[in-house]
């Protein structure tokens, strides 16, 4: 049985202009000790999906309209705020895209990690700080004791993201959600951060949800992949399947983008068209205005999810 099973998650934002269906019926499973990659263009609802699992959507304007997220026999989405606080940081942790701003500038790195430890474990202040130093050591920060006493502005970007991982992993959560953990860092540091997450995954059997726009990152780190397009799952399956045999025209387009740009000639191929306005999504399949294989039914009816042996796609081409 999978560790986390999300079914038909719907998170909407009620804004002045109307309702943004940021996540509109997304389902996925996260296996124990595995990494699920979530890819998709900006605005496809990756971050909102992740935040919904921890009920960290700003409400209002946000609202989790429906769905289930089963973990250890309970539905995370129905937990009270008080119960949810015991999940956050202990069972599920999250790290964010911008390490520069993810740590509070007014407290030392060690204090911020120790704060999490004190919240979820019965230890005193000094022990918590010692554990924080151990965590900094575990993410290979040199001179961890001195670093624990440093303030965030005294650390480099890569170092801060390591510290964030130390913070997130400090209570050995079962799930680590990493929302574009390396996007804001320079290329050499990016790889180190991803390796570090992989290391923790192997060492503690942590399951990882890895959000990215970068297909390259997915190949090197993910076991399973879910591709999202304006709030919907368009394709998901095993990473090899998705790469060798992409079914959905959108996934094929994404693949084309990386294949062309890594093909030596450095021609950056882009997909034609733009992401639709989330308030006013096209009827039928949201991708149809950009789709090269568009049929008339695509413009009117939402595509069904077609299952090819654990490799699923929502597209009229296969229905």
């Amino acid at each position: 049985m999978s560790l986390l099973s999300v079914k038909d998650l719907k998170t909407y934002f009620h804004v002045y202009m109307g309702t943004v269906k940021s996540v509109d019926g997304v389902s996925f499973d996260l296996e124990r000790g595995k990494t699920l990659g979530i890819v998709g263009e900006s605005g496809s609802g990756k971050t909102v999906s992740c935040l919904s699992l921890l009920k960290l959507i700003p409400m209002p304007p946000g609202e989790i309209v429906g769905g289930q997220a089963m973990m250890d026999g309970e539905d995370l989405l129905t937990l009270s705020e008080k119960e949810m606080r015991k999940v956050r940081g202990r069972k599920i942790s999250m790290i964010f895209q911008e390490p520069m701003t993810a740590l509070n500038p007014l407290y030392t790195v060690g204090d911020q990690i120790a704060e999490t430890i004190r919240l979820h474990q019965k230890v005193n202040k000094r022990e918590a700080f010692e554990k924080a130093v151990e965590m900094l050591d575990a993410v290979s920060i040199p001179a961890p004791k001195a670093r624990a006493m440093s303030y965030p502005h005294q650390l480099s970007g890569g170092m801060k993201q390591r510290a964030m991982i130390a913070l997130a992993m400090s209570c050995h959560p079962q799930i680590l959600i990493a929302d574009e953990p390396s996007t804001a860092l320079d290329v050499t540091v990016q790889a180190q951060i991803l390796l570090l997450i992989d290391e923790f995954k192997k060492k503690y059997g942590t399951s990882v949800i890895l959000v990215t726009h970068n297909m390259g990152v997915i190949t090197s780190s993910a076991d399973d992949v879910m591709v999202m397009y304006v709030g919907k799952m368009v394709e998901k399956g095993n990473v090899y399947e998705i790469f060798n045999n992409p079914k959905h025209p959108y996934t094929q387009g994404l693949m084309d983008c990386i294949l062309k740009s890594t093909g030596g000639k450095q021609i950056l191929k882009t997909m034609p068209g733009f992401i639709p306005n989330p308030i006013n999504k096209p009827q039928g399949c949201a991708f149809h205005p950009r789709c090269p294989h568009r049929k008339s039914i695509c413009m009117n009816e939402e595509p069904p999810v077609v299952d090819f042996n654990e490799h699923k796609t929502a597209c009229w081409l296969y229905a």
């Binding site: 740590l103 509070n104 919240l119």
Partner: protein, 318 residues
Amino acid sequence: MLRFLLRRTLTIIPLTLVMAVMMFFLMRLLPGDPALNILGPEATPEEIETLKIEMCLDQPVYYQLANWLGGIVTGDLGKSFYHDMPVSKMLFTALIPTLKLTLLSLLFGILIGTGAGVISAIKQDSLVDRIIVVISTSFMAVPHMWLGLLLVLLFGVVLGWLPVAGYESFKDGGVVSLKYLILPILAMSTAEIGILTKMVRARMLDVLHQDYVLTAKSKGLPFWKVILKHAFKNTLITVVTLSGMMLAGLIGGAVITENIFAIPGMGRLIVTSIVRRDYLVVQSAIMLITFLYLFLNFLVDIIYAFLDPRVSYGSLKG
């Protein structure tokens, strides 16, 4: 840090002196003669001349200036022309009500302003938020002398709950003596409350959208801890900055407020002394206020360093 302290202390002194010298000349540029003022229009030229000699006003201006500045160094501010009393004693008696008034107004304004701002931000777009925004905007628009008079009319005259004007020292009246300060403080702090509420609300909204607040929530911290420990502390810096800036306004405002409410503070002393052409009192009073203002701003900078680890005066060159 030590160097910073030293450097700032060293800048406060010359600035105060420059202000003092400017006041010295400004006073002398005012038309009117102190001796004539004291003796009245009936006085004979001889009487006026004698008094002038007694007050050293017959001496050349530079001599008077040197004499006064020399006195300051030795701690002697001279004597009032009008009252037979050392200036230092007059200043000291007047300083206490003014300090009480400005500092209590500041404190009251900070408490109400930040409180309202934080609540408004947490409850963004709710009814409470809208009410607070409307009130704080009108507070900013109301001139405080006008508001002071209205307050006097309502609480002093119509309702009769509070004294219309006057002052009692803490030594004489104890806690009850503070009732004289309630209306002046209300009048003085409204504008401050308006500005602080708006700025704290804006800053708090900004902070609440910062990633580190999300990090704090994702740790599993309870709501109030996220707000107080992580969000509010980052807003506090704004409060301190604004408070430092508002002090100048409050000290200026005290002059008017003290006159409306007949509080025997620095503002009243300065105004009456200017009318009387009591040169030495005005000069020293302005000098003292300048010094206080600079000193309090200096304190604000020190508080900064304690609040924000990114502010490090030690690393500043010079």
